[in-house]
Structure formats: structure tokens, C-alpha cells
Amino acid sequence: MRYALWLALAAALAAEDRFTQQLEETARVASVMVDGDVCRRIVTARAMEYMLRTDPKDRFLAGDNYDVNADAFDSVKKTLIRLSRLVPFPADANLWMPIPGLPGKVRIVIRNANELSQFWPWGALYQNMEPEMKTVLETGRRVTVARKLGWVSALAPVRDSLGDIVGLVEVAGRRNPDARENVK
């Protein structure tokens, strides 16, 4: 009986490990597949300008002026969708990018169907950069984050044609997916 329990525990641990490994492997592929030059062209210059503006009389100013170039958006989004299909469970590949001239801040640029992310607070156009993201953007190393119970995010750098790191991909999954989460 005890032996069987140990076997079950070992199997569970191995499965968990496979879960993380699959996300990490997808993140590694993302670094190869996601085109950093195209990523730079997604958000319009006008939207970037408005993103940092505030107006006490207009709290939706930045959001109401948020806009993207559809061709660039679609190109990267489709790559991210393909990446998420590399794993056999619900997962999302999200694109994050820093904000030029605003160190310490980061913005999410593309999200996907399950709306899985360990970092994005609902509705934020930009936010404080997580230390793990900073590591990826500064060193080019991949980092795995399991901050929330049952969640794993594998972070991997995105480079442009010059070899500069322009952003990162978060490949996120939940061990116990909730079919109704984010249906709202």
C-alpha cells in the first residue's frame, strides 16, 4: 500500500515536471519564432504617446486612444497561437515589451484566448516590471516563474534582426484549468 502511494506521488511529481518542461520548451521555441522587428511595429506611435498621458478629467484617455497596426499584430499573434498549441493542455503565449524611456515599466502587447498570465492585472496598459522579466530582458536568459499556486510561466526573450532583446514571451499554464475563468 505504502509502495503504491509512493509510486502515485512519484508519478504526480513527474507529471508536474513534464508540465513545466513543456512550457519551458515552448518558451525556448518562442525565442526562435517570434520576430522582434514585427513586434516593434505593433502598437502605433500615437497610442504609445497617449499611453503615458494622464488627465484627471479623463481616466480613460490612454485606453480610448490605444491602437495597433493590424498586420503586425496578426503576424505575431498567429505565431503565439501556434506556440500555445505545442503543449497538450490549455496555455497562452503572451507578448510583453518594455517602454522606451521608461525603465522599470513593462506592457503586455498581445494576449490570447485563455487570458492566462501570472503578471497582468486586468486592464493595465502598462505596469511595473517584474524582477524575472528584468532578468530576461537584460540577460537574455530564460526564466521560469511559479509564483501563484498551480501556475507556471516560462519567460523567454524576443530579439530583433540586430540581435537586440525587444521583449519577451510569457508561456503560461495552470495545472488545474478553470473552464469558466475569464469568461466575462
Partner: protein, 594 residues
């Protein structure tokens, strides 16, 4: 000496127990006084009620004791009558107590003041909401309601005459009042006991679907519509909001309808409403689950595979609805996403950038190609429109045929509303429920404005989210018009005072509008507006502002706010008795035109 003292004491007690009859628009607090929001009206007690047939008459009865004690409250009525105990919500922001949730009770109702559950310190009064249903077959004339209070402090009795007039309120509403919500996970949160009973399968259980249907029922019984949007901003679809799919490209197809049919079947054939006072009938509107990621994967957007997946599934859906006979509900193709939520590169909701209209045209084309021309299924293409409303109304004419408009922006486009209506489109506007701290008649402004404007209805954008603790840490109810009944042992929603006030206004409007066969509609509108707040119908529109002639991409919310100051300032002065005056006008007109 002892005997005389005893008589004096009994006499005092008798003076202490008190019953007061209040009109529906004067809410009272746990101290028995009218709440601050409704004090602009004279605190006149109710003497009588006049009501048309096939409608409700409502009032409030406040029980007051001088000192803590038990009491029994009894209602005797010759007409079908429902009694609700008013719950006093403690506001988080200032600790004030406001009544709103209505807990059904049976007469006679025995209780205690202060109420142990409501936990109001020094509570001296308890208000009850009384709904009297007047069936269409009721003989016109006077009926008397008797209210009795028995307590150790003494007894009290009050009688209220209800005069039933001959006109019958039409069953069909002239304005649709929509109550919106998102997803279904909130049901599990609100009904944790039921969820625990059902266990891991709660969201597939009969109890879950009964709860969904109970929400539809409560809004239906209050002359309203209930919507649940079944997908997220990234396109994820809840399992009970869409059929199950399999395959990719030309192989994409539906594999199962089980959860969808359990959810929508009783709503589309009307059986979910068979035990209601208004009778079984299909719901008038429902969202489809279609979004940029469902049924076609966005991976194929712009490629032949997208239209193949989209067309395959829409065709199967149309066939399923047709075979089931679900042809009475308008099924809405609707896009709720915004690009600021980073799921898709265009705004489905409130288009600000005119280039995004392209996607509406594309979906309109794909949808037309997928649905047989002679289909009896009623599909509509719905768009929520604000910034670019004027342009969209022209650009998407013949494609979008259900418009949910920003009330502020529509207020300076009477011509846009007229043109949409002229071509047969459905036109609603959107807003949100007023907080309980606003004047009681505030909630009547929306149906009234819709009727004055000549549009079809309006949407309360969120109506089931009362906050984590609506009982003692209440946010005011700006996103809720019903509450979970679980606290009171009821597995389903319970109504609010605001919902009741709104229902009574809508039934009045149905009656008033029916008089247009005998009086010009302009005269009826003028009379009702004058009664409401001394206004004219044109005062409910704003002049076209200068910004309307600039590209909407340049507008700011501050400019929009400035451009709608006229109506906002007028409605800031709405008095608690505003609708009561309209009701009196309608009763007078209805009776006079008999």
C-alpha cells in the same frame, strides 16, 4: 394606584406600536424616517392607490416599536399580494443604512426588533414592501388592504383603499429593459452552499441551470430581459454558452449540444417561465457565442480556413435552432472585445477608429453567406456604439441592425436614432443602475427616456454583482439590481426596491403608450415629461455640440461630458415623487379615455 399605573403603562405601549403606510418612492431607514436620498419630497403617508388591471400596485409599510420586542405583521388582501421584508444595507463609505434587497416573507410574519440578522444597532423600525397583483379579469372598483401589527407594546391597524380602474396594461412592453451580466462563474460564488452540495460537477448540474433560469425568471417577472455574455475578451467561451467543437479548417464541426441545450432550451422555448405570472414565452434576446476566436480560430483570420470554420459552425447552429423551433428569440452576433485588452487588433465594442468598421463588414458578409436566406431563425447583428455612432450608423447600415448606443452621445443625435428606427433597426441605449443613495425615482429615468426618445430599450450594463458583502459593506448597488437569496435560505435571486420601482414605471409606460391610438403620441410625451419634472420632451435631448463635427478620434471624455451637461443638470433635480406624478397622469388619461 398600582392598577392606574398599569393602565397608564399599557396606554403608552399602545402608542408605541405604529404602522405607517408609505408610497413606493419614499424609502425609510431602520429608524423609521425617510432616507436622506428621498427627503426632497414631502413625507406624506400613503392614503390610497390607483392601479390599472394586469399590473402591480406597490407600497411600503413600516412597523415601528418604541423598545425592543417581538411583533407580528399581518396583511389581509382581497387581491394576490406578496410581502417582502426590506433589508437594510450598511454602506461601506459612510455607514448609512439604506433598504434595497427584498426578502420574501409570508403573512402573518413574526419577527423581532432589532432584527438579529440585520444587526442594526437601536433599530426601531422594519419596513415591508407590498406588491399587490391586479389580474386582468379583476372587476374595477375599490378594494381594501388591511395591515395589522401585534406586539407587547400594543396593536395597530391600517387600511389602504386600492382603486382598480378598468384599463388593462398591455402584456407587451414598449421599452425593453435589459439586465446584463458576464459569464457564469459568479453563480458559483454567490451560491456556495449549492455549489458545495453539487461538488465538482456543479457547473454541469441541474441546480446550476435552475439558478441561471431563476435569474431569467426574476427579470422577466419584473418586465425585463436578462443577458449573459458567454465569452471573454480573449475569445474563451464558457462551456454552457456554446456547442462543443472539434476539428480544424474544413473539418471544423459541432460535436455536442448537451450543455448549450440544457442552458438555452427552456429559455428559447419558454418553458423556463411556465410557472410565472406573465406565462411561458421564449426570451426575446440572447447573445451568440461568436467572437473573433470562436467558432473559427483567429489563427486563420484572413485565410480561407477562417471562413470555412466560421461557415461550417454557423450553418450547423442555424439548422439546430430551426429544427428545435427556436425561432422566436433574436440571436445576437455581437463583439465585446476592445483592443486595449490586447486580444485582437480591432474594437468590437464602442469603435473609436473608423478603420475597425471593416471587420463588421467582413463578419456581416460571412454570416450572410452561412445562413440560408429563408431561415426562420432570427439572427441580428448587434453593435455597441459611442464615439463613431453617427458614421457607423451610415457605414454599417444594412449590416448592423441592433444598436446599443451610448446614452450621452445618442442624446445629441436625434436624427441618428430616427434613421435607425426608420429602417427597422433595434435601438437601445446603455447606462448602469443608480446607486441606492440616489433618489428612488432615478431608476425610472432610463425607461422613460427610451420612451420619450422613441427608441426600443436600454441596457443596465451589469446587474448581478452586488459586491463581496452587500449586507454590511455595501458599495451602493451600482452594478446590482438583484441579490443572492442564499443568506435567507432561498436558492435563487431576490429582487430589490429599485427593480420594483423600475417595473412599475415600465408597466405604466406600456399603458400610456397604448393610449396613442386615441391621443397623439406627442401629446402623451409632453404630458408625461411635464408631470415628471416640468420638462418638455425636447429637453431630454442635447444640442449637437461642436465636437460632433470633428473626427471622433479627437474627442475627449471631458468634452463629451460637457456636451451632455444639459440633460445631466436637468436630471440632477429629479425628485423622489417624479414617477408618482407620471403615474397619476397616466391613470387620469387612461381613465378619462375609457
Amino acid at each position: 394606584m398600582k392598577f392606574r399605573f398599569l393602565l397608564f403603562f399599557i396606554s403608552l405601549c399602545a402608542q408605541g406600536a405604529e404602522l405607517r403606510l408609505w408610497p413606493e418612492y419614499l424609502r425609510t431607514g431602520p429608524d423609521g424616517d425617510v432616507v436622506a436620498a428621498d427627503r426632497a419630497a414631502p413625507p406624506n403617508l400613503l392614503k390610497s392607490i390607483r392601479v390599472a388591471r394586469a399590473g402591480y400596485a406597490s407600497l411600503q409599510v413600516a412597523v415601528r416599536l418604541r423598545s425592543p420586542g417581538n411583533y407580528t405583521f399581518t396583511v389581509q388582501s382581497p387581491l394576490p399580494t406578496e410581502v417582502f421584508r426590506e433589508w437594510y444595507h450598511r454602506l461601506e463609505k459612510d455607514g448609512a443604512w439604506y433598504p434595497d434587497a427584498l426578502v420574501p416573507v409570508k403573512s402573518p410574519h413574526s419577527a423581532r426588533l432589532p432584527d438579529v440578522d440585520n444587526r442594526v444597532e437601536n433599530q426601531q423600525a422594519q419596513a415591508y414592501w407590498i406588491d399587490v397583483w391586479v389580474p386582468a379579469a379583476t372587476r374595477p372598483g375599490e378594494y381594501r388592504l388591511t395591515f395589522r401589527l401585534e406586539s407587547a407594546e400594543g396593536n395597530a391597524e391600517a387600511v389602504l383603499p386600492i382603486r382598480v380602474i378598468a384599463p388593462v396594461i398591455p402584456d407587451e412592453d414598449v421599452v425593453a429593459i435589459d439586465h446584463n451580466s458576464y459569464g457564469s462563474s459568479w453563480i458559483g460564488d454567490l451560491y456556495s452552499k449549492e455549489r458545495a452540495r453539487a461538488g465538482a460537477d456543479f457547473y454541469r448540474s441541474d441546480a446550476f441551470f435552475h439558478l441561471i433560469h431563476a435569474y431569467h425568471r426574476i427579470f422577466y417577472e419584473h418586465r425585463g430581459v436578462f443577458h449573459q455574455l458567454g465569452y471573454g475578451h480573449g475569445g474563451k467561451v464558457g462551456p454552457e454558452f456554446a456547442p462543443a467543437l472539434e476539428g480544424s479548417g474544413r473539418e471544423r464541426h459541432i460535436t455536442g449540444w448537451d450543455l448549450y441545450d440544457r442552458h438555452y432550451g427552456p429559455l428559447f422555448d419558454g418553458t423556463a417561465f411556465r410557472d410565472t405570472r406573465r406565462g411561458a414565452r421564449p426570451i426575446p434576446f440572447a447573445y451568440l457565442p461568436i467572437n473573433p476566436e470562436w467558432p473559427a480560430s483567429y489563427l486563420w483570420w484572413g485565410e480561407p480556413g477562417y471562413e470555412a470554420e466560421f461557415g461550417n459552425v454557423v450553418k450547423e447552429m442555424e439548422r439546430h435552432f430551426r429544427e428545435k423551433g427556436w425561432t422566436h428569440t433574436r440571436l445576437e452576433l455581437f463583439f465585446n472585445h476592445k483592443k486595449r485588452y490586447m486580444g485582437f487588433p480591432w474594437d468590437g465594442d464602442e469603435v473609436r477608429f473608423p478603420k475597425d468598421d471593416y471587420y463588421f463588414k467582413e463578419y456581416g458578409r460571412m454570416f450572410r453567406n452561412a445562413v440560408p436566406k429563408d431561415s426562420p431563425v432570427q439572427f441580428v447583428f448587434r453593435a455597441d456604439s459611442s464615439w463613431t455612432m453617427e458614421q457607423q450608423s451610415k457605414e454599417l447600415a444594412g449590416i448592423v441592425n441592433m444598436w446599443i448606443c451610448s446614452d450621452g452621445i445618442l442624446s445629441w443625435y436625434p436624427g441618428v436614432a430616427r434613421e435607425m428606427k426608420r429602417r427597422g433597426d433595434i435601438v437601445w441605449f446603455y447606462s448602469g443602475p443608480p446607486s441606492v443613495t440616489e433618489v428612488s425615482a432615478k431608476i425610472t429615468e432610463f425607461p422613460f427616456q427610451a420612451w420619450l426618445w422613441g427608441v426600443d430599450g436600454f441596457v443596465h450594463w451589469l446587474t448581478v454583482s452586488a459586491g463581496e458583502d452587500p449586507w454590511f459593506h455595501f458599495d451602493g448597488g451600482g452594478t446590482a439590481l438583484v441579490y443572492s437569496g442564499e443568506r435567507f435560505g432561498i436558492e435563487g435571486p431576490i429582487p430589490s426596491i429599485r427593480l420594483k420601482v423600475q417595473r412599475n414605471a415600465v408597466q405604466d409606460l406600456a399603458l400610456l403608450d397604448s393610449l396613442r391610438t386615441r391621443r397623439p403620441i406627442e401629446e402623451l410625451r409632453a404630458g408625461a415629461a411635464r408631470s415628471f419634472n416640468g420638462s418638455k420632451p425636447e429637453d431630454w435631448w442635447n444640442p449637437r455640440p461642436a465636437i460632433a463635427d470633428r473626427p471622433p478620434i479627437e474627442w475627449t471624455n471631458g468634452e463629451i461630458r460637457a456636451a451632455t451637461a444639459g440633460t445631466r443638470n436637468m436630471l440632477r433635480k429629479t425628485g423622489p415623487g417624479a414617477w408618482e406624478s407620471v403615474h397619476a397622469y397616466i391613470m387620469q388619461m387612461a381613465e378619462g379615455l375609457q
